[in-house]
């Protein structure tokens, strides 16, 4: 099964994701005779998860990149570096069946690993991998791309190459950098090369755990004889149309969306820009 289609059943040689518990999932290459039946039922191949396997939190950025670069079926995209291929897979899925990805990776080992994976996932017809330095040699294509994505240490050195890879009538570019100094240089380079709509963004994901929380109702004692006008006690609270579903034995229970104690505080800055015709 290709990474760009759904299938109804798991086939020999497929990569499937097995979920066990709340946050635990892993890919399994399905072998004849093995089972991926869990107590929750059969988990079938869901290819969108595989693309994320190396950088699961990156998907928040990938989402924004895909939309802001206006990727869709048929788009021609240039990317550097290929890295773990997590964005490459996302791009390929989006531009299939008629688009193409040109991805340039500086590190030889990684380039070869990516090539192998694209073959294994049956998407090699949608992608061209090159092992070269994008800052020196560019993408190896001219005036074909609708969009360019850069995730390299010195993106400002590749802006010229990015511009010439983009179509004559224009297109979109995105550069991902963890450090603000890289962003500063990249924005300058983009401006020098005549890019417009230069816009730097950052996106963070805040995940909430849905929990049932019980808070104790404090014991404020008895008001004795006189029940004053301000008296608030737990016994009459339940009659007042409280927010809470269950109120029992001095405890208020409610559902809460509780933020995780720790979250990813930074992945990188995303700088988008447009190449205009003029």
């Amino acid at each position: 099964m290709s990474f760009v289609d759904y299938a109804d059943t798991i086939k020999d040689g497929d990569t499937a994701i097995v979920f066990l518990g709340h946050e635990s999932m892993f890919p399994v290459k399905v072998q004849h005779g093995s089972k991926t039946q869990t107590k929750y039922g059969v988990i079938r191949h869901s290819s969108d998860l595989i693309g994320k396997r190396t950088q699961i939190l990156y998907s928040t950025d990938i989402s924004l990149i895909t939309m802001m670069l206006e990727l869709k079926p048929g788009s021609i995209v240039c990317e550097s570096g290929t890295g773990s291929g997590s964005l490459s897979h996302a791009i390929i899925r989006t531009v299939a069946p008629t688009g193409h990805l040109y991805t340039v990776e500086f590190h030889q080992q990684r380039a070869e690993k990516a090539k192998e994976e694209f073959q294994e996932h049956k998407v090699e017809h949608l992608v061209t991998v090159k092992n070269q330095d994008v800052c020196k040699n560019g993408f190896g294509v001219s005036n074909v791309a609708d969009a360019v994505f850069l995730d390299i240490p010195s993106p400002w050195e590749a802006i010229g190459h990015a511009k010439s890879a983009l179509k004559i009538e224009g297109g979109r570019i995105c550069s991902f950098s963890p450090c603000i100094e890289q962003v500063q240089r990249t924005c300058l380079a983009m401006e020098e090369h005549g890019f417009t709509e230069i816009n730097t963004l950052e996106i963070l994901l805040r995940v909430y755990n849905v929990r049932t929380i019980s808070l104790q109702i404090p014991d404020l004692g008895k008001a004795a004889e006189d029940n004053s006008s301000t008296g608030f006690d737990s016994s009459n609270q339940s009659n007042q149309g409280s927010l809470y579903g269950i109120l029992q034995q001095g405890t208020a229970q409610f559902k809460s969306g509780v933020p995780l104690k720790e979250m990813v505080g930074h992945t990188g800055y995303l700088t988008f820009a447009t190449k205009s015709l003029f």
């Binding site: 109804d8 039922g41 996106i203």
Partner: protein, 484 residues
């Protein structure tokens, strides 16, 4: 390059195009001899027709558009800058030109660039300002007096940004980055069979259709009389995209699930009192109304200098009520035979859509509506194949907490995740980089998950099991710690 693709690059009469000035967008229908008002400027689009999308125009006298030549960055004279603001006393009298003076200049047809130059020359404090302050002053004035607009081709990026800025109420305050998350979490791509339930003026539908590129099929569930696609029609999709777009009334969902659905009962039901023409799929009839409001706007303020905060004009498009009335009137004029033919066609497609849903093999479900999400999810997930993603947007967090709980109780879903995103924009300028001073307070909340097969025999036991097991040991410990 294909000829058709090349054609899409040029601005044509009848296109839905988006006007852009700085970060302000406005969708308009490209028509000849129609006055358009945007950011206090009025002009005609006639001259834009035939130019390539992305072209920047200048508004010249008489409201005609002239393509702007490549940025001859107007270096407004050698700047003589002060070193700091120690000696600047702001008494509100630093500008010698009055509002009337400026209006006179504009009436004479003086270009914006020249007006800015005159403002600088007539400012008593400009030379004392730091270079940074001078830059800022020039930028501000340029923005005010230079009448430059760019015409861009609509896309999900542009339309979702535009709607969020101009008409957030129409799209349930769905912020563009949240929409981006939904498209990725929903794994929207060519070849999918998607179910969509949205009340976002058709923006979410359009985003899904763009991402599917005409491959696969989309079934739009709709409340009330018919689907709303005002924003969908702005994308400028080829007609072929609409051949694989289906719609199905929400009010028939329960009967479809229970197996008692019948299309025969359809025409007599009350929700079909509205004329069928309403569901025009982005045809020109519907677009015709896009710009009707513009001419009612006062054009005099376009040249006034004022200190008021700038008000956004009401967007031209998505005037659903008006569309509705207009098409109704038209419907009355049309002959009865045509109406019957359309009703038959509609019923045929409804049966076809019901059959598509009954296959229960959709590749995903996207919900983004003003309705409570729980009943929608519990019903519509019936039509989704196992191991497929679903994504629900809600402007508020609380309904998604309930939805999460109910889905857990029902079972058949895993990887449930409730989240929101924070979006920060940056100013990146030499020595003056920082996050933008204002940011969006919230872009709404998303609940996403994946469907799984629950085998009938053990369904109750296993879903309980799943609930227990999905709270790992470490979580439980934490919870105890919290409540101790």
């Amino acid at each position: 390059m294909e000829e058709s693709a090349k054609l899409g690059l040029r601005i044509r009469e009848g296109d839905c195009a988006v006007l852009k000035r700085d970060e302000v967008f406005k969708a308009v229908l490209v028509l000849r001899r129609r006055k358009v008002i945007f950011e206090k400027q009025w002009f005609y689009l006639d001259n834009a027709i035939g130019h390539i999308y992305g072209t920047t125009f200048e508004v010249s006298s008489g409201g005609s558009l002239q393509p702007k030549k490549k940025m001859e960055e107007t270096t407004t004279e050698t700047k003589e800058a002060g070193t700091d603001n120690r000696n600047i006393v702001d008494d509100g009298k630093s500008q010698k030109l009055t509002h009337d003076d400026i209006k006179a200049l504009k009436d004479k047809g003086i270009k914006g660039q020249e007006i800015v130059q005159q403002l600088i020359e007539n400012s008593t404090t400009f030379r004392g300002k730091t270079e940074f302050a001078q830059d800022k002053y020039i930028k501000k004035k340029k923005k005010k007096y230079e009448a430059v607009i760019t015409i861009v081709k609509p896309s999900t990026r542009i339309l979702s940004t535009m709607y969020y800025a101009r008409e957030p109420g129409k799209i349930n305050h769905l912020r563009y980055d949240t929409l981006a998350q939904m498209l990725t979490l929903g794994n929207i791509r060519a070849g999918n069979k998607m179910i969509v339930m949205e009340t976002c003026a058709g923006l979410v539908l359009g985003a899904i259709m763009e991402r599917m590129g005409g491959y696969g099929s989309v079934i739009q569930m709709y409340p009330g009389g018919g689907p709303v696609r005002a924003a969908t029609s702005c994308f400028g999709f080829p007609e072929s995209f609409f051949n694989t777009l289906y719609e199905f009334p929400l009010s028939k969902v329960n009967s479809l699930v229970s197996g008692t659905f019948s299309s025969e009962t359809l025409p007599s039901e009350p929700e079909y009192n509205v004329p069928v023409e309403e569901e025009s799929n982005g045809s020109l009839d519907e677009k015709q109304t896009l710009i009707q409001e513009t001419e009612e706007e006062s054009s005099t303020e376009a040249v006034m200098e004022s200190n008021e905060t700038e008000e956004q004009e009401t967007m031209d498009l998505a005037a659903e009520d008006t569309e509705y009335k207009e098409s109704k009137e038209k419907g009355n004029k049309e002959n009865i035979r045509e109406k019957q033919r359309k009703q038959q066609e509609r019923r045929r497609k409804l049966v076809e859509t019901a059959a598509l849903l009954e296959e229960k093999n959709a590749d995903g479900l996207i919900v983004a509506s003003r309705f409570h999400p729980t009943p929608l999810l519990l019903s519509l997930l019936e039509f989704v194949a196992p191991s497929r993603p679903f994504v629900v947007y809600c402007q508020y967090k609380e309904p998604l907490l309930e939805c999460y709980t109910k889905l857990r109780e029902k079972g058949g879903v895993i990887n449930l995740k409730l989240s929101e995103t924070w979006l920060r924009n940056y100013q990146v300028l030499p020595d003056r980089s920082h996050p933008k001073l204002m940011m969006s307070g919230g872009g709404g909340y998303i609940l996403s998950g994946i469907t799984v097969t629950v085998e009938k025999v053990q369904s109750d036991a296993s879903s309980l099991e799943a609930q227990k097991n999905e709270e790992p040991a470490s979580k439980k410990r934490k919870l105890q710690e919290l409540n101790c």
